[in-house]
């Protein structure tokens, strides 16, 4: 493998890395260590952390459920408007989350497009945990779609074509060939979605509100604590950083960079193509 990186590139990379790490280090310097454990184990903190983990897990499930078909359609399909569909699906990546929150409000809110229908069906979304999960799914879905679509494209469709010529039905090809091939890409996409859901703030604040145990996730708790108790806000921020690092670190082992669409190093190419 070629490793000849010019020195000046390495120097600029160091500045870039420092830019990301310095604020985190500065935050570490402000942590009140004597009070750290009591601060992060207070009732409101634990409630917020629990809610964050539960909602982020639920959002990740929804992202996989809807994101995998979307990525397949975008990577393998060939239809008019495909590029437009891709741009629209990826829109939440570039939208300010607060805009996402306003949009969700007008779709699922009480006075929204579907609000009346949902209310008749007995479904209340406003100010519930469901609203938090919807907001998180909205902002996190593109991360899964981008990762998986990249993995699908770089994996190519040769094995799928062979399987099809050997008589496998499309669903069989998907289950036995395509998904095993892109499993690492799917996993990193799911982790990214989880991490994004965990950090979701703007859309939740706008769309779901903020109530302890119901809608006040860890980022919202941090935002509120900051008003009166800077120590608590810093301690909780560190907690969120640690949770994010653990989640991302656990799943990003190996050289396969997520989202870049690079072919996974250990992609487990099926040895036998099932007929």
């Amino acid at each position: 493998m070629y490793t000849g990186i010019p020195r000046w590139v390495a120097a600029i990379a160091a500045v870039g890395a420092l830019f990301v790490l310095l604020p985190l280090a500065a935050m570490l310097g402000r942590v009140n260590w004597q009070q750290f454990i009591p601060l992060i184990t207070s009732e409101s903190s634990l409630t917020a952390l629990g809610l964050s983990l539960r909602t982020a897990a639920a959002s990740t499930v929804l992202c996989v459920l809807f994101g995998v078909p979307l990525a397949l359609v975008l990577a393998r399909g060939d239809f008019p408007g495909q590029r437009l569909l891709r741009s629209l699906v990826l829109l939440p990546l570039v939208l300010p989350p607060v805009v996402g929150g306003i949009a969700l409000l007008y779709a699922f809110g009480r006075q929204g497009l579907l609000g009346q229908t949902l209310e008749i069906a007995g479904l209340r979304i406003a100010f519930t945990t469901t609203a938090v999960i919807l907001a998180q799914t909205f902002v996190a879905l593109p991360f899964l779609v981008v990762s998986l679509e990249g993995a699908l494209r770089s994996a190519g469709s040769r094995y799928e074509a062979v399987a099809a010529t050997l008589g496998a039905r499309p669903t069989t090809v998907l289950r036995r060939v395509t998904l095993p091939l892109v499993l690492p890409g799917l996993a990193s996409g799911a982790v990214l979605s989880f991490a994004r859901s965990l950090g979701e703030f703007g859309a939740t604040l706008t769309f779901a509100g903020s109530l302890q145990g119901v809608t006040r996730t860890l980022p919202l708790e941090i935002y509120l604590q900051r008003e009166t108790d800077a120590d608590a806000a810093v301690a909780l921020s560190l907690l969120l950083v640690v949770v994010a690092v653990v989640v991302v670190g656990l799943s990003y082992r190996g050289p396969a960079p997520a989202g870049s669409g690079g072919r996974p190093a250990h992609s487990g190419v099926p040895e036998r193509v099932p007929a």
Partner: protein, 254 residues
Amino acid sequence: MRPGIRAAAVLVAAAVATGLTACAAPAADAGKTLTVFAAASLKAPFTALAEELEARNPGTRIMFSFAGSSDLATQISQGAPADVFASADAKNMAKLGDAGLVEGSPRDFATNVLTIAVPPGNPASVASFADLAQPGVKTVICAAQVPCGAATKRVERETGTTLTPVSEESSVTDVLGKVVSGEADAGLVYVTDVLAAGNKVQEVPFPESAQAVNTYPIAAVRTGKNKDLAAAFIEAVTGPDGQRLLRGAGFGTP
């Protein structure tokens, strides 16, 4: 905020961020620019006052940063370049005072009280403060950590009413937003918020609000560069022009 002021604020922010303030603004010009950090609720009357002052004193520019008082106090204590600080409560002014950043003693210039905002048509038929505690009424309030939430807690204590809100927001604007969008049946906001929202919400006044009056103090910042202009601005706010504009926006006399 007027586009000019906003553009200038952005430029200054960019200049500060890149450490180019000294190059961007000649010393002579800096003497005529005042930077005011003010509570978000003061946006309309303060912007109008600044326009009057700028028209009367050509060459003078007044720039604003409107945000939550606690955010502003934190920013100033972290070195943000403010000449004047106008807070929505005494607590955040005291925070700055404790940090030794207040010049002289703060002057109270306005008061604000809570009121009930409901969506047009008042769908949940809210008529009193006690109605907010009715089951089925979706009430949104400020969290106890922010000034409007502290005032709400005070009213709850005084009236012996316990609210069970569907959401405790971290700013009064978020409470108003939930009422304007019709998500909430009622929200506890300031009188001035209802006035500024126009016909997007209806007001249900309640007499118990008199038990929680928020007083707004204003003071010059010790680290400010422009002491004379800061004093003149505070004079204008506490003087007839400022008071007339504040009354018009719904603020009371301290």
